[in-house]
């Protein structure tokens, strides 16, 4: 399993994942209902049954990860966080059902609209949910915490690994006798991104990141780790739900806050005012220390998008459309330039 530093919306991988579902009438019979309609929605299926609406998910992680995710959800519920979905237990009381070598589970279907970060009201509501989620996450003691789910103090290690990977990919591209459009874009930006990565690592070492991680470890708090607009659902009667906890990890809360800011920056043309608004809104609910703010600088500086898209192309060799890859590579590479400007401004204001 590979966990990403922050999650990207990726329709292509959703489609690939959906293709792996082994949908069969017998699966639904085993679940104890009759299915009337099956509709794909991102990486899940909405199923309409004689007993109501459900969300069907295939397990994409090993069992110990799923146990971790499910116990995180249980923990949130136990702490009074009612903005997460419920797992629908099978007739025998299990959370999962095995079918033809795969495992599936059901959650209640939350009908509503996806959050829109361009809408200030939606964004504020999302921040409130995130702040409450972080508070409720404290005191989480899973029976087993898979190593990949424990990120306390690991940012330097992950930064390092990714820098090394970018260097390896650069070597690989340089060795190619004929360079494609993607190769050329990669080479144009690789040095700049490697430098940014190294600088991020250096800045991180000068912050109090370690003590923040230790504090979070004492508090035993976890984060959502994929707090994207499509994982926040507004129902039409005014309730808000955070969904898809597949990537939740034990880490400092600034990881979620930083990712939320970055997601918004990409849509708002790196508007520092908006970044500050998000921080203020979060701070009103969950006060943020200046030490925490400083950790955001290396987090923002690290060329996560560039590393990820390059990795998907050169290492994972995803079978995606070349034109799509070129577009993505080009957009994400350009972030490197604008991000620097944004960080300069951001540093002045924190």
């Amino acid at each position: 399993m590979r966990m990403e530093l922050f999650m990207e919306e990726n329709r292509q991988s959703d489609r690939e994942f959906l293709g792996g579902y082994n949908l069969d009438v017998k699966l639904f019979e085993a679940m104890g209902f009759k299915v009337k309609q099956i509709i794909p929605v991102r990486s899940v299926y909405r199923i309409v049954t004689d007993k109501g609406f459900y969300c069907l998910k295939r397990l994409r992680f090993p069992m110990e990860d799923m146990d971790f995710i499910f116990s995180a959800l249980e923990h949130l519920k136990g702490k009074g966080f009612n903005n997460a979905y419920d797992i629908v237990k099978q007739e025998n009381g299990d959370d999962f059902i095995s079918f033809k070598g795969d495992k599936y589970f059901l959650t209640q279907w939350i009908d509503g609209r996806e959050c829109d970060f361009m809408n200030p009201m939606d964004l504020d509501a999302a921040i409130e949910v995130l702040a409450r989620l972080h508070n409720a996450s404290e005191g989480f003691a899973p029976v087993v915490c898979p190593p990949d789910r424990c990120w306390y103090g690991k940012w330097p290690e992950y930064f390092n690994d990714r820098i090394e990977e970018m260097k390896q990919m650069k070597e690989q591209v340089l060795e190619k006798p004929e360079k494609s459009e993607i190769d050329r874009i990669y080479l144009d930006y690789a040095d700049m991104c490697i430098n940014d990565g190294e600088e991020a690592l250096q800045i991180l070492s000068k912050t109090d990141y370690r003590s923040l991680s230790e504090e979070a470890a004492v508090k035993k708090s976890f984060i959502h780790h994929d707090f994207a607009h499509h994982n926040i659902i507004h129902t039409f009667d005014g309730r808000i739900y955070a969904v898809d906890f597949d990537y939740c990890i034990m880490d400092i809360r600034m990881h979620d806050v930083g990712s939320l800011i970055l997601r918004n920056m990409k849509k708002s043309n790196w508007d520092t005012d908006k970044a500050m608004d998000i921080l203020e809104s979060y701070d009103r609910r969950n006060p943020v220390s200046s030490t925490e703010l400083k950790v955001l600088v290396p987090f923002f500086l690290f060329p996560q998008d560039f590393w990820m898209i390059s990795r998907q192309y050169y290492i994972e060799r995803k079978d995606w459309d070349e034109e799509d890859f070129t577009d993505k590579m080009s957009t994400k590479s350009e972030y490197t330039l604008v991000r620097r400007k944004f960080i300069e401004e951001f540093e002045k204001r924190i």
């Binding site: 929605v41 009908d111 609209r113 009201m121 939606d122």
Partner: protein, 338 residues
């Protein structure tokens, strides 16, 4: 079939429609807005759509909502015998609607503009408290305009900086540079106007009553209806938003020398049904001032750069500048007309 629907096999389609909708298809004929299907239950229009099932379900339930709320100048999406709102053929989605005869509505007199304004207000009234069918994917535009105006003006500033750095400037670059400052000013003004006019309060109100809006309420969406009425089409693009967006789109679509008079008549007729306050008028003005066409073309030239054709884009840019200018008369009505 010929033209845009040439890949469709007439016989396959006939059987599919008959089986799915329980209709007897007597004839089919391609029109400029889809395929006309002559059935035992009247003439239907089959239209291809790029929307997925969840989006179609959203607009189909919006159609049904406004219709059931008393707005009858609209033709709902027909459901299949098993309740689905679309049919799939050769991997594409299609919707079937009752066909309405008539031409695009000519709103060239104050009376005609008033009819369009009144119809829009009635559509908005019927569009309140809309909750889509479960499983729909809602199109939502609530609250995004202020931020969008700002983000887009940042983009244009960035393009300007890049062009200024170029040693050799193309014809497009020159045209862009000649006009950019004026449009940036407009964008900032429109953004400021939204901010001070209580835009977010209007969004809050609209969110609290789940207001659905047309989304593309321009000339081609209005057809001649009963002797004195109009018929509304293209509701597939409907979205959750504030009503002022639709009003601005309508006012902008008026053409001719008496644009300001038409705009005034439409706004007044709208206000008789659904009162517009000063804040609303300012918001409408902001939407009109915002140079969306100029931005859109500039974005395809300097932003996305997809299907880049310099000659075509230069013409588009020139056209967009002209059309932005044409809006000024309507804006003048908002300044002095009320």
């Amino acid at each position: 079939m010929s033209g845009g629907y040439e890949k469709l096999k007439r016989h396959d389609l006939k059987l599919l429609i008959e089986n799915l909708y329980g209709l007897e298809v007597r004839n089919m004929q391609e029109g400029d807005r889809g395929i006309l299907v002559y059935t035992d239950r009247g003439i239907k229009r089959l239209k291809g759509t790029e929307s997925d099932e969840a989006k179609i379900l959203f607009s189909a339930s919006a159609y049904e909502h406004v219709y059931n709320n008393g707005f009858r100048q609209i033709s709902c999406i027909n459901r299949t015998l098993n309740g689905s709102c679309h049919m799939k053929y050769d991997k594409n989605n299609y919707i079937l609607q009752d066909f309405t005869k008539g031409r695009v509505y000519e709103a060239n007199t104050a009376e005609a503009a008033a009819v369009a304004g009144k119809a829009l207000a009635e559509l908005h009234k019927a569009g309140e408290y809309f909750i889509p069918a479960p499983g729909s994917r809602a199109r939502v535009d609530w609250g995004k305009w202020m931020e969008k105006f700002k983000a887009n003006s940042i983009s244009l500033k960035k393009y300007k900086e890049l062009i200024c750095l170029k040693e050799k400037k193309s014809e497009i670059d020159k045209l862009f540079l000649e006009n950019i400052d004026k449009f940036l000013e407009k964008m900032q003004y429109a953004h400021g106007l939204l901010k001070e006019s209580g835009y977010l309060d209007k969004v809050r109100q609209s969110m609290s009553c789940n207001q659905i809006t047309h989304g593309e309420f321009k000339k081609h969406a209005i057809f001649e209806g009963d002797p004195e009425g109009v018929f509304i089409t293209n509701f597939e693009e409907c979205s959750y938003d504030i009503c002022e967006f639709d009003i601005a789109t309508l006012l902008e679509s008026f053409s001719g020398k008496n644009k300001d008079e038409l705009a005034a008549a439409a706004a007044e007729a709208y206000s008789d049904v659904k009162p517009l306050d000063e804040g609303s008028m300012k918001i409408i003005k902001a939407f009109l001032i915002y140079p969306k066409r100029f931005f859109k073309v500039s974005e395809s030239i300097y932003g996305r750069r997809k299907n880049y054709n310099e000659i075509e884009l230069a013409q588009k840019l020139a056209r967009s500048i002209k059309r932005e200018k044409k809006k000024e008369e309507v804006i003048r009505f908002l300044d002095f007309g009320r």
